[in-house]
Structures are given as C-alpha cells and as structure tokens.
C-alpha cells in the first residue's frame, strides 16, 4: 500500500455538496470508513491530483458508492436519482458523497445526465461512473456500457479503472446494513485515454476503449469477465453465440427513414437510456 496523499476538499461552488454540512459530513464518512473497516488501497498514485478524471469501478454492492469516494484523495461527483433529494434520510448524506441529482424520467434524461457529467469533467473534477450500468448479481464482471468512454472522448479526460474486492461481504445484496471490521481492497489502475485507441471522433473507439477498461477492471478485481450486460442472460461459457433461429429472435424495431435527415438514422438517439451515463454512482 502506498502512502495516502492528503485529502483535499475541492471547492466547487457550482456543484452540489459545496456547503459546510457536506464538507463535515464527508469528512466524517472518510473517518468512519477508515476506523470501522480494514480497507487496503493500491495504486492511489494513479489518481490525478488535479484536472479531470473518470473513476470507473466494478459494481457489486451499494456500499461501493461509499468506499470508493471515501478513499480518493479528492472529491468525486456522480449522478443519482432526483428522488433522493426528497427523503430526509438521504438529502444531506448523498450530496456529501458527491451525488448530483438528475431527474431520470423522460426522454432527455440520458442526455441531461451526460451533459451534467461532462460539465463536472470540464470543470476539472473527478466523476465516478459504473461501466457495468448496474450491480452485478452474478459476481462476474459484465460487459461495459460505453458512457465512460463517451465522456473520455468528449472531455479529453482519462479513465481510471478501479477493481475492488470485499464490498459484497460488507454489504450483501438486499442488506441495508454494512458489517463492520471486514476487509476490503480497492485497486486503482493506470489512467487510460481515448486517443490511445484511435481517433476519438471515430465511433469504433468507444467499444474498443470500453472493453479495454473492463479488461483492466477484471485484472484489478480478479473477477471473471462475461460479455453480456449485467442483468441480461449469460452466454454459455466458452462458446461463440450461434446465430439464433428466427423464432428466437425478438422483433427489431423499425428505424425511421429519411434521405438526409440530420438525426441519427438508427438505434434512435433518445434511446440512449442509461447507456450514456450508465448507472451512476449513488443509487440503491
């Protein structure tokens, strides 16, 4: 374990959590994590101490959203459901953890989330995103969604892959409490840049970068990788998917036609859903 750099509470008056409650609240969370759990941190030198960075961890447990921010040398922001701000239980805690509430109902939610994430990075801050989109129920590392890569290309920000072990034992699925005094290890990998995977404006780069990030996360977390989205049925191990028979294939939606329409002509833009900014850091 390398020596921890001194924590700096970044002043970001334009972002949530700049108030004193958040400042002291987050300080308390950091102390609690340090005292109540046996957390080992590796590769902390890979976190840039200034400028933008995308923190991309595997996602096994709700408490990932507490442990990863708590061990970083800087504050980190992430996007969470707007509803958290309506509950007295979470409306102070979550902004302290760097949550930016975004209303995720409606067609423009994904774009709003993406723009919010981009503004955090453009302000020179850290932003956290789970590339798997949601918690892995299988324990395996699942196929990454391309939101982190999209942000990396758009904002010229490095992605820092994160692989952690132990959070599932601290807070298993569906458990509301965290078991104290258990060990966890959080490993940060070397920063990865979109430009190393080709021209960042080339759309092929998004998947290449995403897969390379997932490979690094798998290396850091020791998880087995499966090339299906978290929550989707998994392929049989070691086989290439055979072409399904027509009967087993779902109907593919018709794409609007148009000769030189300015809008994207396929897989409709507004359907980005949680893709762009996948599942965001703070959620249950």
């Amino acid at each position: 374990m390398t020596e921890q750099p001194t924590f700096r509470f970044e002043a970001a008056p334009e972002l949530p959590g700049a108030d004193r409650i958040s400042k002291y609240g987050f300080g308390a969370i950091r102390k609690l994590v340090d005292r109540l759990w046996d957390v080992t941190v590796e590769g902390i030198e890979n976190i840039p101490l200034e400028g933008p960075g995308i923190i991309a961890p595997n996602h096994l447990s709700f408490c990932d959203s507490v442990f990863v921010p708590a061990v970083l040398p800087r504050r980190v922001w992430a996007i969470g459901k707007g509803e958290y701000m309506d509950s007295w239980k979470t409306k102070h805690l979550f902004p302290a953890l760097g949550m930016i509430p975004v209303d995720r109902s409606g067609g423009d939610a994904a774009q709003a989330a993406l723009d919010t994430a981009a503004s955090v990075l453009e302000g020179g801050h850290l932003f956290m995103i789970y590339p798997e989109g949601t918690r892995s129920r299988s324990g395996n590392l699942h196929k990454g969604r391309t939101g982190a890569a999209r942000l990396a290309a758009r904002c010229d920000a490095p992605i820092i892959p994160v692989g952690h072990v132990g959070t599932l034992e601290i807070q298993p699925p569906d458990s509301v409490t965290m078991k104290i005094h258990k060990p966890a290890t959080i490993r940060f990998g070397e920063p990865m840049r979109a430009e190393d995977f080709g021209d960042p404006t080339d759309p092929r780069v998004l998947r290449l970068l995403t897969d390379a990030v997932m490979f690094e996360i798998a290396r850091l977390s020791g998880q087995k990788y499966v090339n299906t989205y978290a929550g989707a049925p998994e392929q049989v191990e070691g086989t290439k998917p055979s072409v399904p028979t027509p009967g087993s294939r779902p109907l593919v939606p018709t794409i609007p036609s148009g000769r030189i329409d300015p809008a994207p002509t396929t897989n409709g833009g507004s359907e980005m859903a949680h893709a762009a900014v996948s599942e965001l850091a703070v959620r249950t």
């Binding site: 969604r145 391309t146 999209r150 190393d196 404006t201 080339d202 759309p203 092929r204 998004l206 998947r207 290449l208 897969d211 390379a212 997932m214 490979f215 690094e216 087995k224 990788y225 499966v226 090339n227 989707a232 049925p233 392929q235 070691g238 290439k240 998917p241 072409v243 399904p244 028979t245 027509p246 294939r249 779902p250 109907l251 593919v252 939606p253 018709t254 794409i255 036609s257 148009g258 000769r259 030189i260 329409d261 300015p262 809008a263 994207p264 002509t265 396929t266 897989n267 409709g268 833009g269 359907e271 980005m272 859903a273 893709a275 762009a276």
Partner: protein
C-alpha cells in the same frame, strides 16, 4: 415488372454500350436481345428455366442476361475467367438448362461435355438471327415482383459459397433508389464505366442494370488495366465510376494527366474497405472524393452509401432511404446509440434466400424480413456507418472480443511489416488466442514489444507466423480462412 423491359423505352438512337470502338445503340441492343430470346427459346428456355451466363464485361453478357430474363427465365452470371474445376463446381450448384457463353466460349468449347448443359454462343447472335426465318420473336414474359431474376454465387471470401436468389423487384427497387437520389442523380445523359465484373452484384445492379434502366451509356472495360481505364474515362468523359479498392489504388498511381478524372460526377468504392491513403491520394491528385458504400449480394446490394451526403472517409456512408438498419447484440437486442454490434438489415432489396439451402437461409433471414449480415459495425452520431469486422473473424480471449482489424492496424504501423492478418486459434485457458500472420522483415520479439506498448494484453498475439505473401481476393478482401 420484368427487368428485361428496362431497355425497351429508351431512344433507339442513344448509345447503350461502348465496347472498344464499337457503339451499340438502345435500338440495336433491343434487336440483339430479341434475337437471343429467339435463340434461347429454341433451346427450350422458358419461365423459370436457368441460363448460366459465362461472360465478362462484354455485350454478350448484357444480351444474354436480358434475353434470359425476357423469357421469364433465371440468369446465373458466372465469371468467364474462373478455372475449370471451379466452373464445374459452380455450374453443379445451379444446374443450368443452358450455358450461354461470350468470348470465354472459345476455350470452354472443348469442355462442353464436362459442363453438363448445351452451349449457346452469344457472340454469334446478331440482328440477323431473328430475320433468318426462325419464327416470331417470343415476347417479354410477364413476371411478378417476387419471381426470381438472378441467381448470384456469393463467392465472397467465405468457404461455403452459397447461391443467393434475387427477384425482379429486389433489383428494381435498388435501381429506383439510385435513380431517385436527388442530389447527384443519374440520367440518360450520364456515362458509366463498366469495369467492375458484371458477375458480381455491385457491377451487375449498381453499374450495369441501373445505367440501362435510365438509358445511360455504359463504357465496357473487359479486363482491368489502370491506365486504360483512365484513358476511357477521359476519352468518353465518363461521369460515374465505381470501383473496388485495388482498382482505386492502381488508378491513384497510374500514368495519366492530373485532369484525367475531371469528368467524374460520382466516384464510388465498395466490396472491401478503402484504405485512407488511397482516398487521400485520389483526392489530392485528381480532386475526386471517393464515396464508400456498404452492401452484400443478399441485399441487392446497397445498404449504406455516400451519395448525396458529405463524404466521410473511413465510414461507408449513410443508410439508403428505405433500408432499415439496426445494430444488435447477439440476442437481437438493439445496442445503445454509438455502440458496436451486428448489422441487421430490412429492405425491399433483401433476397429471397439461398438456393436449396433452407437451413442456411433460416440462419440469416427472419420471417419478417430482417437479414443478419454477419458484419460488425457502429453508427456515429451523424448516422454514418463504420464497419469493424466480420463476426466470425472475432477472436474471443477470456470472454473479451478481439477485433482482428484493430490488431492488424497496429501491426501495420510497424515500419518493417508489409502485411498482417490476425486469426484465432484454440487455447486451453483462454478459449482462443490471437495468432498473427505477418509478411515483412520484423522479428517476433520486435513485434511483440511493439504491440504490447500499444494494445491491451488480451489482444496481443501469442504467436507470430511469418509468410511471404498474404492471401488476398481480387476485390481486396483478405482470405482469412486460408490462414486458420
């Protein structure tokens, strides 16, 4: 409609074909086709018969194909230069009732018995055939939209060549789409270079039949010669040029004045990926931007193209209007915007299935008309398609997809590498592993260090095999199966 009627209404005096110094008007072409109908009819050809057309880009091909369609029969274009064993295999797959031959007839004649069907020599048919008292010319037969017009051998680069069934409407719909394109357009005043083989869907439908449909002129080039192409383009002031990447590559460096391509209104490339340096060379030297397109025999062929839109090098353009395209995951779920997956297509150009191969058909064509191309691609935010690889070329290492094109691109960046092809090989621990076939003067150690500095570990080849030459098809596609 019967596709044979596409030449019927054009001005009899306007020029349909230019073959060397020989100009054939639409009137004369109609006469020759009528004569050929008579001749084929005498051989017993009628609705749903099959006629193999073994000819190059020569008038005999055009006459033979249109006469066959006119009788309601199905035409099977076969490259005249195929070696004999391949020819026998192809003919066996389609069992034609008659083999109609062009210039290739000279060397094929002694092999007639081997080829298994009677010969008709198309080069001896001219207007006089029908005038010599062989009875009335059979009229153009009525055909329904779904009736078959062509059987196309999808030689491609796959090991299991299949025969695609294309209907009159499949081809006519693509022709309409090309002709109706409002920005570049195509009219009877245009001249098109006929150098792509007519036995291939790109040359057949996009170049030959679409040009005939509007009454334009096709300047035939029977055998590819870069310098001669440029002479033809300049001499006849050709406006439409479609070529495969190796052709564009040779034109880029051919000995010709820099205004040799100044008459071109539309330049297109297809059949394989056009390397960026060729695009740049043609643009810088001749001031022409080559628009890439994407299509398959099974889609008659256009799926995306770059006509009427700003050309984006490296992409294969935008969706042809009326073609539905989605990018899907292996389970058929559309991927998220901007992600990579299999290209699935539905359009009136999508074929009727593979001949005598219901299982192969069912594996790629759904009941509701979606054709699974087997190609991996991704749309950018502006709706331009970018191709990645063939699905079956992907190497899966520890669950991660390795796209051979990415690894090959990196290898090609090494100064001592002339060519590189990446394939998968079985591996006990990781499922598959990456094997690189390389031509060039580098050592395995050098390449390993070079690649490791640039690629994730799972993508790095674990074995290098050095070869003198890599197998490349005439279209420019690499033939990977020979390396597996």
């Amino acid at each position: 409609m019967n596709l044979a009627s596409i030449i019927e209404l054009h001005d009899a005096n306007s020029i349909a074909l230019i073959d060397g110094d020989d100009k054939i008007s639409y009137g004369e072409l109609r006469d020759r086709v009528a004569s050929a109908r008579t001749r084929l009819h005498q051989e017993g050809i009628g609705p749903d018969s099959r006629v193999a057309i073994i000819a190059g880009n020569e008038p005999a091909f055009v006459v033979g194909a249109l006469a066959t369609l006119g009788l309601g029969a199905v035409a099977v274009p076969i490259q005249g230069t195929s070696p004999m064993p391949e020819l026998v295999r192809k003919l066996k797959a389609v069992s034609p009732d008659v083999i109609a031959v062009g210039d290739a007839g000279d060397w094929l004649a002694p092999h007639q018995a081997e080829l298994g069907a009677p010969f008709v020599d198309l080069t001896t048919i001219d207007r006089s055939t029908s005038a010599s008292g062989d009875g009335p010319v059979p009229p153009i037969a009525h055909r329904d939209d779904d009736d078959l017009a062509f059987l196309m051998l999808t030689s491609g680069v796959s090991s299991d060549a299949k025969v695609a069934m294309l209907s009159h409407h499949n081809l006519a719909w693509i022709q309409d789409s090309i002709i109706d394109e409002p920005i570049v357009g195509l009219s009877a005043a245009d001249l098109s270079l006929g150098v792509l083989p007519f036995s291939h869907i790109f040359g057949l439908n996009v170049v030959l039949l679409t040009s005939l449909r509007v009454g334009a002129t096709i300047v035939l080039q029977r055998r590819f010669d870069a310098h001669f192409s440029l002479e033809l383009i300049h001499r006849w002031q050709i406006t439409f040029v479609s070529g495969a990447p190796p052709m564009w590559q040779r034109w880029a460096v051919a000995d010709a004045p820099d205004n040799a391509l100044s008459s071109i209104r539309n330049a297109a490339s297809g059949a394989a990926a056009l390397p960026r340096d060729i695009f740049d060379a043609i643009r810088d030297r001749f001031g022409v931007e080559i628009g890439e397109g994407y299509g398959l025999t099974e889609t008659s062929p256009i799926v995306t193209w770059s006509r009427g839109v700003e050309v984006k090098p490296g992409s294969v353009g935008r969706r042809l209007e009326g073609v539905d395209v989605v990018i899907v995951d292996p389970d058929g779920t559309p991927v998220e915007q901007g992600d990579t997956g299999e290209i699935v297509v539905r359009s009136p150009g999508v074929f009727k299935g593979y001949l005598d191969a219901p299982e192969a058909t069912a594996a790629v064509l759904t009941d509701d008309g979606w054709f699974w191309t087997g190609d991996i691609g991704v749309f950018d935010d502006a709706g331009y398609l970018h191709l990645v690889d063939r699905i079956k070329d992907i190497v899966i290492v520890s669950g991660f997809n390795v796209y051979p094109s990415e690894v090959e691109t990196i290898l090609m960046e090494h100064p001592a590498v002339r060519g590189a092809v990446v394939v998968g090989a079985p591996h006990g621990e990781t499922g598959e592993t990456v094997v690189a076939h390389v031509s060039g003067d580098a050592t395995a150690e050098e390449l390993d260090a070079f690649v490791r500095a640039r690629l994730s570990r799972y993508k790095c080849p674990t074995e290098y095999r050095f070869v003198d030459e890599l197998p490349v098809a005439p279209t420019g596609k690499l033939i990977r199966r020979e390396l597996r």
